[in-house]
């Protein structure tokens, strides 16, 4: 008798008449009868995800259509790859892709240094109150919206009245027009991102430090290690696995930009675009300002596919490095 494929969880009973397989598969009808209430409890989330995540995936056909109001998403005329040709002619895609990647690399690199560094230093502080207050202050920027962060930027860098220029003039320097100088924006945006994220990001590292085996430090004390050596040879190496996971997860999203950061600070200034335009702001501009739905959907498809590929690769790498931390 030819049996069905034997699955991992199936139980095999060896009898003199041959092997009998007891399937671990539970018939659907039985699951429905036994767990109908659990299934019902899943329905709201399933409906939500179907509508807001899976249906839009099918909406990616827009990338191959010339969108018309009458036809909507599914019945507009099919134009093949013309939207992609339009992107090529526009010629902005390589630039915005480069910006997205470079900004994310800078965010990841400096983010790790700042988050890990501040976690290690906070851990060295002995004064409880200083520790508490400074940690609270470092957390503060995380709680404000990008709109408010944009207002703060304006307060500091405004040409006529900004603090930066007031101080510069008071010290005998000259005014500096940040909003007309594309070259300084990578520094400003990386700084702003670190300002907003470091306090929040350091928490994970602090938890990892708190979970470390204290005997290692005691042993190092006996061996005569000094405080710097303990940080260098015990604390930092112990944080590497945590760091690897966070970095790989961040690299998985390297083609996704932080829209709020860029939109609220740069304020769609055309002059600053060469150094501040990322894929997300480009898609947004095409969609909202130009109402060019097909082309913006095509750029979105390009981004989604790149994201998907990098996430898959990164997850493979996490699995190799530390299977416990793999996403799935």
């Amino acid at each position: 008798m030819k049996t069905a494929r034997i699955r991992k969880k199936d139980k095999v009973i060896h009898t003199p008449a041959g092997d009998r397989v007891i399937s671990s598969r539970i018939p659907a009808g039985k699951v429905f009868r036994k767990h109908w209430l659990l299934l019902l409890m899943l329905v709201p989330a399933i409906v939500y995800v179907l509508i807001f995540c899976y249906v839009p995936m099918s909406g990616l056909v827009l990338a191959f259509e010339k969108y018309q109001y009458r036809g909507g998403i599914y019945n507009s005329p099919w134009i093949g790859l013309q939207n992609f040709k339009a992107i090529m002619i526009d010629g902005k895609l390589p630039g915005v892709t480069r910006n997205t990647i470079l900004y994310n690399i800078a965010f990841i690199f400096f983010g790790v240094i700042f988050e890990m560094g501040s976690a290690i230093l906070i851990n060295e502080l002995r004064n409880k109150y200083f520790k508490k207050v400074s940690q609270s202050l470092m957390f503060l920027p995380y709680f404000i919206s990008w709109v408010v962060a944009g207002a703060i930027m304006y307060n500091i860098f405004n040409y006529e009245r900004g603090i930066w220029n007031s101080i510069s003039v008071a010290l005998g320097g000259s005014r500096f027009d940040v909003y007309n100088t594309p070259g300084v924006w990578p520094f400003i945006l990386v700084f702003l991102k670190l300002w907003k994220q470091t306090g929040y990001g350091s928490v994970v590292y602090l938890a990892a430090i708190a979970g470390m085996d204290q005997e290692m430090f005691e042993a190092a004390d006996i061996d005569g290690a000094n405080a710097w050596q303990k940080i260098r040879y015990i604390t930092i190496p112990s944080l590497i696995p945590t760091m690897m996971v966070l970095v790989l997860m961040a690299i998985g999203n390297i083609f996704r930009g932080d829209f709020g950061l860029f939109y609220q600070t740069v304020k769609s200034s055309a002059l600053l675009q060469p150094t501040t335009d990322i894929i997300d702001t480009y898609v947004f501009r095409l969609l909202i300002n130009n109402a060019n739905i097909g082309v913006s959907a095509a750029v979105g498809l390009y981004q989604s596919v790149l994201c998907f590929i990098t996430i898959m690769i990164c997850n493979k790498l996490v699995k190799v490095a530390n299977p416990d931390y793999a996403l799935y």
């Binding site: 709109v147 000094n226 710097w228 304020k267 979105g300």
Partner: protein, 305 residues
Amino acid sequence: MTASGRAVPKKKIRMTGDRIAVSIFGYIMIGLFALICLAPFYLILIASFTPENDMIRNGYPVLPGAFSTEAYALCLKNPMAILRAYGLTAGVTLVGTLLAVFLATMTGYVLSRRDFPWRNGFAFFFFFTTLFNGGLVPWFMLCVRYLGFKNQIYALVLPLMFSVWNMIIAKSFMAGIPAAIAESAKIEGANDFTIYVRLMLPLSKPLLATLALFSALAYWNDWYNCMLFITDDHLFNLQYYLQSMLGSAEAMRLVAEKSGMDLPAVPLEGMKMAMTVIATGPIVLLYPFLQRYFVKGLTIGAVKG
């Protein structure tokens, strides 16, 4: 275990030279960074209380000088718009947070049940959406074209109502609650929904606090959905109201006209700063109390994504 390092046993540590050096370095660096984090809030606050003429002459102040509340007076002269934005944001935050926490915990609970044979399949169904998505355009078109999001309050609630990450946090938290509790309740005759509401939720208070805070912060600070879907200024939420006010001098002039002041006398700069303070205030005042839960929640979530 708390993330603030309380797990490190407190014992007398001999302060040798290298320890002193490390800790001085730590105090300086952390102190400096903490000040940099605080400084902008201080600058905005004193700018909002500085007379307009001083700011036009000398720029935004670094040190508090002359004191004036004219910017606030003007912001609140026509308080209806601000109050409406405040009320709308508070309502949306409240309703949205309740729905988001309910949805995340209920779904997470079902997927945490080890006796539910399809849990892995459904978990992947949800998780896949974080790996691949349609991006902004199809989602936006769907919402505007087929779901009628334009100028509807639910356009501010629905987009932030379900997060797969929050659901995963809920799932891993609830998986840590002993299954025997649910089983014994089941023998007593409780159904799955009753177990979720009467047993699992009360046992998951840290989880609820964390998820509520994450969701509430997302709703309170949201401007994106308002920008995408709302054009009627009666439906602006707080952050978007601030954004549009900061953005357009036109809006300022309008407020000025309404309050019957001449244009040059309107403290535009001060108003921008005052409005920023008004929109940030509640969160900054509440956050020392909330921070604790955030730290806890991050540690819950960080265990396994």
